[in-house]
Amino acid sequence: MWLVFKKELLELLRDRKTLFFMIALPLLLFPLIFGAFGFFASKAVKDAETKVLKYAIVGSEYAPGLSASLAEASDKFERVEVAADADFKQLIRDETIDFALKVPSNYDQPVLEGGQATLVLVLNDAGLNMVQSRIKELIDSQIEDKRRQAFDALALSDLQQAGLLKPVVIEKEDVADSRENWGEKIGGFLPYILFLLCLQGAMYPATDMGAGEKERGTLETLLISPTERYKLVLGKFLTIAFAGVTCALMTILSMAVWGVVLSQGMAIKVVGEFMSAISVLDFILMFLMLAPIAAIFAALLLSLSIYARSFKEAQSYMGSLIMVAILPIVMAMMPGVDLKGGWAWVPITNVALAIKELIKGTMDYVSLFAIFGSTVLIAGALIAFCVYWFNQEKVLFR
């Protein structure tokens, strides 16, 4: 059995193509994609923040303070003179201006006299822009002034002022700690990536070791060697499962490392805190849960692969397997699906849910045994089927 495992692994490692997909791709491509995404996103935000905005203002005579502060910030805003009755929509579409402000006549009156003032901001709000938040920055100080003026006129104490501004405040006391909070967010996603990568990583070697061996004509020679059939199957099976787990772990590891590298500063602290909240035991348990899943995938893939007449046929079978496998994993990501009730009995889904619970730190360790046990049982049955399958002439010599 180890002989077969060793040889298959050697052959796998000799194959540049597999190595590339298994190691280079997750190590380099994922951070590259995320990095590029982050870079362009932050660049776009920065552009929107620093861009000089062209504006038109109607009724500036009602708000000398506002128009003065707009004119002052000439590195941020640039005034364009337009007629009071101009078509702002058209001007914005022509990119003559970025936004227009319509100042009401009561803008500079004290609140107690003029009441609420409605400042109209005309802009194209589709797409990323920071117009509103940048205008708000300027206006905030004026709002503050207006409030102070009114409070002074009414001669209110600080207490009364605060009460008037927010008569009732809701203070949230979250019993979930930050781990549970983050766990809910990441926890659903992690098993999804983990399982799919595991399947992905196992797929190529599985094709190669079943259908590939048939196609090359080495299978017959292998079958007549004086080795029990189950040893051959287990050797192949182990290689496939090993490849799947390696692929999944490598990717997760690279994502974690790159994530820490890329999100410097504050994020590091959050990630660090989050990671340290999860105990070593939980990590080991997560890995243990992954093992029977990898076994299930490997056994399924090997059965399909040995049934197929050729590489091509095997690949099309496996394409459908991905569709089937993705369903229970997506199930675990849906809100409201948790380990209570029936979902605990759905294979693969229950493991995904258990991993999520482990990350959140809310795992009921007793049910973990049940899930682990049942998954191991399924994996064992599938391996047994694989061995049976390898003994069928109609499968081997199709």
Binding site: L3, E11, R14, R216, I224, P226, E393, K394
Partner: protein
Amino acid sequence: MIEIKGLAKKFVVENVKKLSDQEKQDPRLKGRFFHSVEDVNFNCDKGQVLGLLGPNGAGKTTTLRMLSTAIKPTAGSVSINGVDILAEPLIARRKIGFLSGSTGLYGRLTGRENIEYFGRLHGVSESDLKYRIDELANLLDMQSFLDRRSESFSTGMKQKTSIARAVIHQPEVVILDEPTTGLDIMATQTVLDFIRRLKAQGTPVIFSTHHLDEVDELCDKVTVIDKGRTCFDGSLQDFKALSAGSMHESFLTTIKGAA
């Protein structure tokens, strides 16, 4: 000594309608079963070389696959030096060296690694393995390419490696399925010399072929199979004596006799 008696193998036909007209007319098709091999008998003694002849589709490869234990016969018996290969396939496999007609190599392993892998599967010890590979490489003239990846091998190199792989465990019987098909003249000669050497060592060799000159050159015995049945089994002299002319005529006589 290998003895085959009443060997038969039937396959389930999944969809009879899909078969070609020619296949439907084959008398071996009975209902849902295709009796690929119906009754094959022959034996091969120590130091003998047996040539297995027959038209395409006669059941030669199926017969040889049954001898190699790759597939199980429906009926009949095969025994090698008194060991029933059907009852004890694991023991029998150690005694058989089989070269399949459609065999291949692991392309990403070198020639040596290919041979080593199967040697180890057959339980050959590491020290023996090294020595034997060296010996076979000299015999089959493989030293120049033994440590290169086998994906770049020519047909001749591949066949030599396959043959070395088939005999690495020093089998008591060697079975070769069309070992010379597709080889150039030099490679063919190496293979034929190798068979001759096995014969000199006293190892019985069974090989199937379409080249009657190879049979004439090497064989002591000839077995002709047609439509799943043995229609000639005898010595080379008897086979030649079937017709006054060439061996080709003898071959055609046996087939006609059966029909």
